[in-house]
């Protein structure tokens, strides 16, 4: 178990493609950090640099007290769970679990003990002698996890480990990974493009975009207080409604007087828009209903307001019974508004 310290790290691929730009991040001992972002944001590259599978162009990465830039993957004492599991197809499950220990010259008795422990924890004892191809997706996933935990490494690295599973199994394994990580207390870095997975798993959430970190924080903090337009739109499903402030002014919306002057865009979460007039200060937009998506427990209402380009989405609990063309009054409490600067897209604090 160890801290991971990433300081000023960059990655430039041949042809001057900059995948990671001067990135710094510290990961505390025992923490589960989730790197989330759209594809191509550099999150997998960063993980592979920690693992030693990609060279580091600039900056340093240290695991524990050691700078690992020049170390081979094997010498970094980390374990990785791959998206396609990367189980050795010609070895039995037991062979897969033992491989890393044998390579390190672990004693036979110790190997047997660790494999037995891991198999018990992951409930894969019944198929220790089977080949990976005889296992289901979920079972393979467990074996891949097993291969990581028998090694008792300083850190676990997860590279989108759940994206090959069906939705139900994914939700189940998500909970298990969380439970397992808590129980073992091993520092973990987890890469995903699924923001739901990121929200539910993370101790610390790192939102990445274009090779840089957009925001780091506790999942709920990132959700409720996004520091940039990108984070606002990326986190949440659907993401935050982002409306150009000029178009709001043009339709005479009752913006709060405290709104910072630098604001170019205001944002509001779909669940913060209400249809009944709230008590506190608020602004109101007249809109016509475009479409309703019934999810079951809640409804997503798409409404089109005159003078505002994009549909405004609001989330109402239960089933919203309305028809396209209905006229709605969308009420947005002033307290639910987020302001983002015109040029940079960064959050601007209320004056």
């Amino acid at each position: 178990m160890a801290r991971i310290e990433i300081s000023g790290v960059s990655k430039v691929y041949p042809g001057n493609v900059e995948a990671i730009k001067d990135l710094s991040l510290s990961i505390n001992d025992g923490e589960l950090v989730v790197l989330v972002g759209p594809s191509g944001c550099g999150k997998s590259t960063l993980l592979r640099m920690i693992a030693g599978l990609e060279t580091i162009t600039g900056g340093t990465i240290s695991i524990g007290e050691t700078v690992v830039n020049k170390l081979e993957p094997a010498e970094r004492d980390i374990a990785m769970v791959f998206q396609n599991y990367a189980l050795y197809p010609h070895m039995s499950v037991r062979g897969n679990l033992e491989y890393g220990l044998k390579n390190r010259g672990t004693q036979r008795a110790e190997i047997d003990k660790r494999v037995a422990d891991a198999a018990r924890i992951l409930e894969i004892e019944a198929f220790l002698d089977r080949k990976p191809r005889q296992l289901s997706g979920g079972q393979r996933q467990r074996v891949a996890m097993g291969r990581a935990i028998v090694r008792q490494p300083k850190a676990f690295l997860f590279d989108e480990p759940l994206s090959n599973l069906d939705a139900k199994l994914r939700a189940h394994m998500r909970v298990e990974i969380r439970r397992l990580q808590r129980a073992l207390g091993t520092t973990s870095v987890y890469v995903t493009h699924d923001q739901l997975e990121a929200m539910t798993l993370a101790d610390k959430l790192v939102v990445m975009n274009g090779g840089v970190i957009e925001q780091v924080g506790k999942p709920l903090d990132v959700y409720s207080d996004p520091q940039s337009l990108f984070v606002a739109a990326f986190m949440g499903s659907p993401g935050m409604n982002l409306i150009d402030i000029e178009s709001l002014r043009a339709i005479g919306a009752d913006l709060p007087g405290s709104i910072p002057t630098a604001t170019g865009t205001v944002g509001v979460r779909p669940e913060d828009i209400v249809l009944e007039k709230p008590a506190g200060p608020h602004l109101t937009i007249a809109a016509t209903l475009d479409a309703v998506e019934l999810v079951g427990s809640e409804s997503l209402v798409y409404a089109n307001a005159k003078g505002i380009e994009k549909d405004i989405i609001l989330r109402s609990s239960g089933i919203h019974r309305g028809n396209p063309g209905d006229v709605l009054a969308l009420h947005i409490p002033h307290s639910a508004l987020h302001s983002f600067a015109r040029e940079s897209g960064r959050k601007v604090a209320a004056a």
Partner: protein
């Protein structure tokens, strides 16, 4: 598996459509093979005027003929050496090219060239390079005090044909090994690297076992090649000599039949070769799918 099924309204049509293929097979393969089987039981006088049926005499004579048994031994040495060397060198080259990222296509193209060279040309090429009077290699070897003369030394002659035959087969093996390696996901070797295996250990414990279907397939193909497709190379370099040292089975068939005009014995030899091919192909189809699997 789903099979495509076409219903013909006219019963004769399917046979008519198959006829060209069947005709070619019968005229060019079945008939000569049958002729060979027939001739192998016969004995012809030197002028081809009288033919008598001699049962298995041609076969029994072969297996008591020291020349034939010697040829069997030579073939074994030749086939095992060529198969082993061609596969080992190809595996090494494939492993090397597989590590390259940008220039791998160039190397692949260059390494495949020998395959396009006709066997006789390949033979003559090596014969020329190793020519004791004008070749560059005997000259170079001479500088180190090694005398090379494949015209008098049976060992030298065997080494020469092994080199020529191996050189020509490396390309084929290389392509298959490279394709096999490229179909192994990168994440497997990465996982092994994290699991503490060095490059050599990764190769022998992960990559090589996963290549075993390819290896087995190539082994059969290479034995087949060395035993039957190397006629041109032998003919272009040593013509079976000196003193029978490189007279492998397939060359002996030609030597005895076309040069020695002993048709009966030659036919019996080719029937034995045919049985060996059938056995190899049987092994290939029977075991390749089932045994070598992970």
């Amino acid at each position: 598996m789903q099979t495509k099924r076409t219903i013909f309204s006219n019963k004769g049509l399917p046979y008519l459509l198959l006829a060209p293929q069947l005709a070619i097979t019968i005229v060019f393969f079945i008939w000569p093979a049958a002729q060979a089987v027939k001739s192998s039981f016969e004995r012809e006088d030197p002028f081809g005027l009288r033919t008598s049926f001699v049962w298995f005499q041609n076969y029994t004579r072969l297996f008591t003929d020291p020349n034939y048994l010697n040829s069997f031994g030579r073939t074994l040495i030749f086939a095992v050496s060529v198969t082993f060397l061609a596969m080992a060198i190809a595996l090494l080259l494939a492993a090397a090219v597989n590590r390259l990222i940008r220039s791998s296509n160039v190397y692949t193209t260059l390494l495949v060239w020998p395959y396009a060279v006709a066997p006789v040309v390949a033979g003559i090429l090596w014969w020329f390079m190793f020519n004791p009077s004008i070749g560059i290699l005997p000259y170079a070897l001479g500088q180190f005090g090694i005398t090379w003369n494949h015209r008098t030394s049976g060992t030298d002659a065997m080494i020469l044909v092994i080199i020529a035959a191996t050189w020509k087969q490396i390309s084929y093996n290389f392509l298959f090994f490279l394709a096999g390696m490229q179909s192994i996901p990168n994440s497997l070797t990465e996982a092994a690297a994290i699991d503490g295996a060095g490059p050599f250990k990764r190769f022998w414990t992960i990559v090589f076992p996963l290549l075993s279907p390819t290896t087995f397939f190539l082994m059969i193909i290479n034995i087949n090649y060395a035993m039957f497709d190397t006629f041109g190379i032998i003919d272009g370099t040593t013509s079976g000599g000196p003193n029978q040292a490189t007279n492998i089975l397939v060359y002996k068939v030609y030597d005895d039949g076309f040069l020695g005009l002993n048709i009966g014995s030659s036919a019996a030899q080719s029937v034995i070769l045919m049985l060996i091919v059938i056995a190899l192909v049987f092994v290939q189809f029977r075991f390749i799918e089932r045994r070598v699997q992970y």
